[in-house]
Amino acid sequence: MNSENTRITALFEDDSLAAEAIRAIKNAGWRISDVHGPIPSHEISGALGIKKSGVGWFTLCGGVIGFFLGYFLAVFTAARWGLMVSGKPVLSYIPFFIVGFEFTILFAVLGNVLGLILLIRLPAYRDLPHIAPACSADRFGVVVDFGDSDKDEARRFLTNLGAEVPESSDRETES
C-alpha cells in the first residue's frame, strides 16, 4: 500500500454497534485491518465472517497419540522384566486402560495448548504499543485503514456509526 496511509481505531460501546459498523465500513470499501474486544462476540465474528477455529485438530491428535503412548508405556515397562505380581498377567490390559486414559487427556490438553500457541501466535509483544487500552476493558475497537486523503471524511463516517475516535488512535503506518 502507499506510504501515506492512516489507521484509525474506532471504539464502540457495544458489539452489535461494532458489528453494524464493520459491515458499513466494508460496504464503503475501506479495509478493516483488525478488531479488538474485551470479550468474544458472535455478532462481530459474524460480521467479520470468521470461521470455526481448527485448534480442535491439534487436540484430537494429541489425544490419540496420548492414548497409545500411555498403553505403550505400560506394556513396554511391564514386558522388560516380565515380573509376575498377584498372579495377574504381565500385560494386564484392563488396569492399563487407566494409564492410557490419563495420557489421552494429558496429551490432548498439551496438543490443545500447542494449538493455541501456534494459532494465536503467542507470545507476541510487538504490536502491544499500538492497541487501544480500552479494548481490553469495555470497548470494541475496530481498526480501519484509510487512504490519507479521505481521513476526515472517514472520521465523520465513523462517528456517525456511533464510534468514538480518539485523536491518539490515528497513526502513520510505516512501510
Binding site: 522384566w81 515380573l83 509376575m84 505380581v85 498377584s86 498372579g87 495377574k88 498377567p89
Partner: protein, 982 residues
C-alpha cells in the same frame, strides 16, 4: 537320618585343636591373618554341644560363622530332643552376646564394684580358700545350679580338699514333691521318665510338659506321638488343673478345679476304680489300705470340694476306665505345698492301680533334675550360713535371692555374714548384687563340659567359639584354686577327657573325637538295661496321706504361680527374644499380667490392663490384670520368671515376680517345702498399664481361619470336593496351575520353574510353644521392638503363633502359626508401585528390600497381616549385633519385610544341588521354624515334586487354606486340628 542332618554332621568339626592354643584375640572375630583350622569363610561350621537353659539337657548344634556362633539348632542325634529346641534353647545364643554380660570379674570394695583381671580373681580365690581350709572344717560352702557329673565331681573333690561339705545343688523348680511322692509310694527317691508316647489316655494333674515340666521338648514330642491324629484315631489327654496354660490348651478337655484339690480328684478316681474292681491285680492288703485312703471321696464329695464340671469328671473317669494303656502324670509348677506332694502320691497310686507293673514309667531313665536339693535343704544351707558364717561361699550359676524373693534370711546372710561370697555369674543379677566377688565364667557354648540328661548318657559341651569375654570356665577356675583336686590337670578339656574315660569307658582318640563331633555317646545310653525291675508299692505311701486336710474352694482369692514357657524359673528373662515373643496363651509380651477369670474380674471391678496389687505378709507386687477364661474363678495366676530387680536391661523392672509373695518353711512331713502366702490381699491399684498385647480378638469370628474336625467325621467316608464361591463353602485352590479355574479366576494359570515351595502346617500337631518364632528371630535377624513399640502395635515377628479360642467350645482351641502365605495370587504384590514384592519363579513371594520405598500398601492389602514394616532403625546393642546372620540383610528404616521361607537356605540348597548337578531333594531345605518344631507340625517342600511330604500332606482331607474363599491361593496349607467330640 535325613540327608540334611548328614550334611550338617559332616560339617560338624570340633575346636579340639584350635582351642588348644588359647591365644587372646578380643571379640575373637575371624581374622584374615589367622584362620582357625576348620573355618572356611562364608561356610558355616557346626559344633555339637548341650543346651544348659534348663535341667532337661537337650543336645544342640551350634552354627559358627566366621568365628562366632550365630544360631543354635537341636542335635538330630540327641536322644532327648531329636534335633528340636524350645524357645529358650533358640534364644540361648543371646546370652553369649548379651550387652549386659560381664566382661571382667568385679570385686566389691567399700560397696563399689572394681574390675580385676581373671588371673587376679583366681589367685584371690585360691588364697581365700587356702586360708579358709587352714581354719578348719566346713569353712568353704558352695551352692550350685545343676551341673554335669564332671563339674559336680570336681566341686566335690575341691570342697573335699578344703575339708568342706559337698556342694548343695539348687534348682528353683526342684520337683521335690514328685521325688518325695515317688519315695513314699515306690521307694524311689528320684524322677523317672514317663513313656507318654505309649499311652492311649493321658491324664495330667497340672504337669506342664509343654512349658517347663522336666523336659518339655522331649515330652512335647512324645505327647504328640500319642495325641496326633494317625491311622484313624488319636489318644485322649485330660488336663486337671486350676489353670489351662499351653499344656491345657492342647488337652481334649481342660478340667478346671479349685487349687490344691487335684489330690482329691485323683483319690476320687481311685475310689471309683476300686469300686468297680477295675484295678490290676494288686496285693490284697495294699488294696485295702488304698481303699481306706480313698474312702471319703465319692463323686459328689469330689465335685463339691474341687468344684469341677460333673460331666467332665465322669468323662475323665470313664476314659481312664475304658483306656487300654492309661497313664497319669502328676502335678508341677513352683510354689506348691503339701497338696502337690499328696497329689503326686495319689497320682502314683492311681498309676499303680491302673497298671501294677508300671510299664509306662521308666525308673532307669531318671531325669537329672532329681539331683536338685529340696528347698528345705536350701533353707538350712542359708540358715547355717547365718548361724555360722563360712569364710568362703561359692555361688555357681544360681539366683536364690530372686527365687526366694519373699523369703527372709536369704539375702541377709550373703550380705551381712562375714563370709567372702564369690558368685560365678555372667550377669549382675539379684544374687550377684550380694556377692563380694562376681566372677564371669565362660558359658556352655564356650567351654568344655558335659551334661547328661539321665544316667549313662554322655552329652558333651565343647567351645563352639572362644569366650567372648575371655573368661575361663568354672571348671578351669576350680582346677586352679584347688590344686589337690586338680591332680595337675590344668584345662577343662583335660579334666573332661579324664572323667569321661573313667565313667564312659572312652579309651581311644577316635571314639572321643567321634563322640565329640556327634555331641556325645547316644546309642549306648538309649539302650535301657533290660531286666531292670520296676519297683512296686511301698508301705510308706500311707504317710503321704496322714494329716490330709482338704482346703477345697475358698472365698479368699488365691495366687498361683504359673509356669512360663518363656522364662522358666527366671533365668531366661534377660533374653530379648524371649521377652519380645508374646506368651502363646495371653499373647502379651514383655509383661507378666495377672490372669483373672472374667467372673472374678467382674467382682473385683477390674478390666484388662488395670493394675492389681497383691500383698502378702512377705511382700507386695502389682501387675496389670488380664481377663482370661483359662483360669479357675477365684484364682489369680501370675507367670514365674519376671520381676527382676537386677539382671540386665531387658529383665530389670519388667513384669512382676510372684515368688516375692511366698515364704517357705520345710514341712514336718517328708521334708518338702511348704509355700505360704499368709494374709494375701488383692485389690485394684487404681492405675492402668497398657498391655503389650500382640493380639486383637481371640475369637475367629467364624471366618474359616483356624478349623477343627472331629475324629468321628474323619472316620466317615469323604464327601465330594467343595466348589462353592463364598465363605460357607470354598475349594482348596493349590498354588499350582490346577488351582486355577476359568470359572472363577480372571487370571490364567502360571507355571513355576522346577520347584513350587510350600509349607504344610498340621494344626493337630502344633502345641503353640513358639519355638518356631524364636528360631525365626535368630535366623532372619528380626528386630526386637521392645515393650513400648509392641504396645504401639509394631512387633516385627515374621512368624506369629496366633491363638483362636472358641469360648463356647474350649475343646476347639487352636494355636495357628501365621506366616507369609506366599500366595499365588498375593494381594500384596500388584499394589506395589515399584515391584518390591513380586512372585518368584519358584513361587516365593519375594520382598526386595532395596527396591521398597515404604508405601505400606502391601501390608494394608495382605489379608493375613503378616507383613512387618521397619518403623525405625532398630538397635542391636553391642555385642548383640555379632549374632546377626551374615546371610540375611539387616533391614533399614522405611522398608517392608516378611517371612521369606528362609530364602537364604533355599539358595544354599540350590548351590549344593548345582555343584552336585542334581535337583534339590525333598527335606533338603528346612526353614528355621520347620527345623526346630518339637512336634514336627511344620513341613516344607516343593509342591511340584509329587512325592514330597508336602504334596502328600496337601492330599490329606484335612487340608485347607486360611480364608481360602479370598482365592489368594496360599502356599501355606493347614491341616485341620482333630478334636474328640467331647
Amino acid at each position: 537320618m535325613d540327608r540334611r542332618t548328614f550334611l550338617k554332621l559332616a560339617g560338624m568339626g570340633s575346636l579340639a585343636f584350635a582351642s588348644a592354643c588359647t591365644l587372646e584375640n578380643e571379640k575373637n572375630l575371624y581374622s584374615l591373618v589367622r584362620i582357625q583350622d576348620d573355618m572356611v569363610s562364608g561356610e558355616a561350621a557346626w559344633y555339637a554341644s548341650t543346651c544348659r537353659q534348663c535341667p532337661a539337657g537337650c543336645g544342640v548344634i551350634a552354627k559358627n560363622r566366621e568365628g562366632r556362633v550365630i544360631k543354635l539348632e537341636g542335635n538330630p542325634l540327641h536322644p532327648v530332643n531329636k534335633g528340636k529346641l524350645c524357645i529358650r534353647g533358640q534364644a540361648a545364643v543371646q546370652e553369649v552376646y548379651h550387652p549386659d554380660r560381664l566382661q571382667k570379674p568385679l570385686i566389691r570394695q567399700n560397696n563399689t564394684w572394681k574390675t580385676m583381671d581373671y588371673d587376679e580373681a583366681v589367685s584371690l580365690l585360691a588364697q581365700k580358700t587356702r586360708k579358709a581350709a587352714a581354719r578348719g572344717q566346713n569353712r568353704v560352702r558352695m551352692l550350685t545350679g545343676i551341673e554335669g557329673d564332671v563339674r559336680l565331681n570336681l566341686f566335690q573333690r575341691s570342697l573335699d580338699s578344703w575339708g568342706s561339705r559337698a556342694p548343695t545343688v539348687f534348682e528353683p523348680f526342684s520337683h521335690e514333691n514328685l521325688r518325695a511322692a515317688n519315695q513314699s509310694v515306690f521307694g524311689v527317691n528320684g524322677i523317672p521318665s514317663y513313656r507318654i508316647e505309649d499311652s492311649d489316655v493321658l491324664a495330667g494333674f497340672g504337669a506342664d510338659f509343654c512349658e517347663t515340666w522336666l523336659s518339655p521338648v522331649e515330652y512335647s514330642r512324645k505327647f504328640k506321638q500319642m495325641h496326633a491324629f494317625a491311622e484313624g484315631g488319636k489318644g485322649r489327654f485330660f488336663h486337671v488343673s486350676p489353670w489351662r496354660g499351653i499344656t491345657g490348651a492342647n488337652s481334649d478337655a481342660w478340667i478346671s478345679c479349685a487349687p490344691d484339690t487335684e489330690s482329691v480328684i485323683c483319690l476320687g478316681l481311685i475310689k471309683r476304680i476300686l469300686k468297680e474292681n477295675r484295678a490290676g491285680n494288686i496285693p490284697e492288703q495294699a488294696g485295702r489300705q488304698i481303699r481306706k485312703i480313698a474312702e471319703p471321696f465319692d463323686r459328689e464329695k469330689v465335685i463339691e470340694i474341687s468344684g469341677i464340671e460333673p460331666d467332665l469328671y465322669d468323662l475323665l473317669s470313664e476314659s481312664l476306665l475304658q483306656a487300654k494303656k492309661p497313664l497319669v502324670i502328676g502335678t508341677a509348677a513352683p510354689g506348691r505345698d503339701l497338696h502337690a506332694l499328696q497329689a503326686n502320691a495319689a497320682v502314683n497310686l492311681l498309676n499303680y492301680l491302673l497298671d501294677p507293673d508300671l510299664g509306662k514309667i521308666d525308673f532307669t531313665r531318671r531325669h537329672r533334675a532329681e539331683k536338685a536339693a529340696t528347698h528345705a535343704e536350701i533353707l538350712s544351707f542359708f540358715r547355717d550360713l547365718e548361724s555360722d558364717p563360712a569364710d568362703v561361699v561359692f555361688l555357681n550359676n544360681v539366683n536364690p535371692v530372686y527365687a526366694f524373693a519373699g523369703q527372709k534370711g536369704i539375702k541377709e546372710p550373703l550380705e551381712q555374714s562375714g563370709s567372702f561370697v564369690a558368685c560365678f555369674s555372667n550377669f549382675m543379677d539379684e544374687t550377684a548384687q550380694c556377692a563380694d566377688l562376681v566372677f564371669p565364667v565362660s558359658l556352655a557354648l564356650e567351654s568344655w563340659d558335659e551334661y547328661g540328661a539321665y544316667p549313662g548318657l554322655l552329652s558333651l559341651c565343647q567351645p563352639a567359639m572362644k569366650p567372648l569375654n575371655g573368661a575361663p570356665s568354672v571348671t578351669e577356675v576350680f582346677l586352679r584354686i584347688a590344686p589337690k583336686a586338680a591332680e595337675n590337670r590344668e584345662t577343662a578339656r583335660e579334666e573332661l577327657i579324664f572323667q569321661v574315660q573313667q565313667n564312659h569307658g572312652i579309651d581311644d582318640e577316635k571314639t572321643w573325637l567321634d563322640a565329640l563331633s556327634r555331641g556325645g555317646l547316644f546309642d549306648k545310653a538309649s539302650r535301657r538295661e533290660s531286666g531292670a525291675e520296676n519297683p512296686g508299692l511301698q508301705d510308706g505311701f500311707k504317710d503321704s496321706f496322714s494329716d490330709f486336710e482338704i482346703s477345697g474352694t475358698e472365698e479368699s482369692p488365691q495366687i498361683s504361680v504359673l509356669p512360663s514357657v518363656r522364662f522358666f524359673d527366671g533365668r531366661s528373662a534377660n533374653l530379648p527374644w524371649v521377652c519380645e515373643i508374646p506368651d502363646p496363651v495371653t499373647q502379651v509380651a514383655w509383661q507378666s499380667p495377672v490372669l483373672v477369670h472374667p467372673a472374678t474380674a467382674r467382682d473385683m471391678g477390674i478390666e484388662d490392663g488395670d493394675m492389681v496389687s497383691i500383698t502378702s505378709s512377705n511382700g507386695e507386687i502389682s501387675a496389670p490384670a488380664y481377663k482370661s477364661s483359662d483360669i479357675h474363678p477365684g484364682v489369680l495366676g501370675l507367670q514365674a520368671g519376671q520381676g527382676h530387680t537386677e539382671y540386665g536391661r531387658y529383665a530389670k523392672g519388667q513384669g512382676a515376680n510372684p515368688f516375692a509373695l511366698f515364704s517357705v518353711k520345710s514341712s514336718p512331713l517328708s521334708g518338702t517345702a511348704l509355700y505360704e502366702t499368709r494374709d494375701l490381699q488383692v485389690e485394684a491399684a487404681g492405675m492402668q498399664q497398657k498391655l503389650a498385647s500382640t493380639a486383637g480378638s481371640l475369637d475367629p469370628h467364624g471366618r474359616k481361619i483356624a478349623l477343627t474336625v472331629s475324629v468321628d467325621e474323619l472316620l466317615e467316608p469323604e464327601g465330594e470336593k467343595k466348589h462353592g464361591l463364598a465363605m460357607h463353602d470354598f475349594p482348596l485352590t493349590l498354588p499350582l496351575p490346577e488351582g486355577y479355574d476359568e470359572q472363577r479366576d480372571f487370571y490364567p494359570p502360571h507355571d513355576h520353574e522346577d520347584y513350587r515351595w510350600a509349607m504344610a502346617v498340621d494344626l493337630d500337631r502344633c502345641i503353640g510353644c513358639s519355638a518356631c518364632a524364636a528360631a525365626c528371630y535368630a535366623e532372619n535377624n528380626l528386630a526386637v521392638a521392645g515393650e513400648e513399640q509392641i504396645i504401639n502395635g509394631r512387633e516385627m515377628s515374621w512368624l506369629h503363633i496366633e491363638r483362636y479360642w472358641q469360648i463356647e467350645d474350649p475343646g476347639k482351641s487352636v494355636f495357628l502359626p501365621m506366616l507369609c502365605q506366599h500366595c499365588d495370587n498375593a494381594p500384596c504384590e500388584s499394589v506395589c508401585p515399584v515391584y518390591a514384592p513380586h512372585h518368584s519363579k519358584e513361587g516365593l513371594n519375594n520382598q526386595i528390600y532395596n527396591r521398597c520405598i515404604g508405601t505400606r500398601f502391601c501390608a494394608q492389602n495382605c489379608p493375613y497381616k503378616v507383613r512387618r514394616f521397619n518403623w525405625f532403625d532398630w538397635k542391636w546393642p553391642e555385642p548383640l549385633n555379632l549374632q546377626l546372620n551374615p546371610d540375611v540383610t539387616v533391614r533399614s528404616k522405611g522398608v517392608m519385610e516378611k517371612c521369606s521361607f528362609c530364602v537364604q537356605r533355599i539358595k544354599q540348597a540350590h548351590g549344593r544341588a548345582k555343584n552336585e548337578d542334581r535337583k534339590i531333594e525333598d527335606g533338603e531345605v528346612t526353614p528355621a521354624c520347620v527345623q526346630t518344631c518339637p512336634t514336627d507340625a511344620l513341613v516344607f517342600g516343593s509342591l511340584m515334586d509329587s512325592a514330597s511330604r508336602v504334596s502328600q500332606m496337601v492330599k490329606d482331607r484335612r487340608a485347607y487354606q486360611v480364608m481360602g474363599y479370598l482365592n489368594t491361593k496360599p502356599a501355606v496349607i493347614y491341616l485341620k486340628k482333630v478334636v474328640h467330640a467331647v
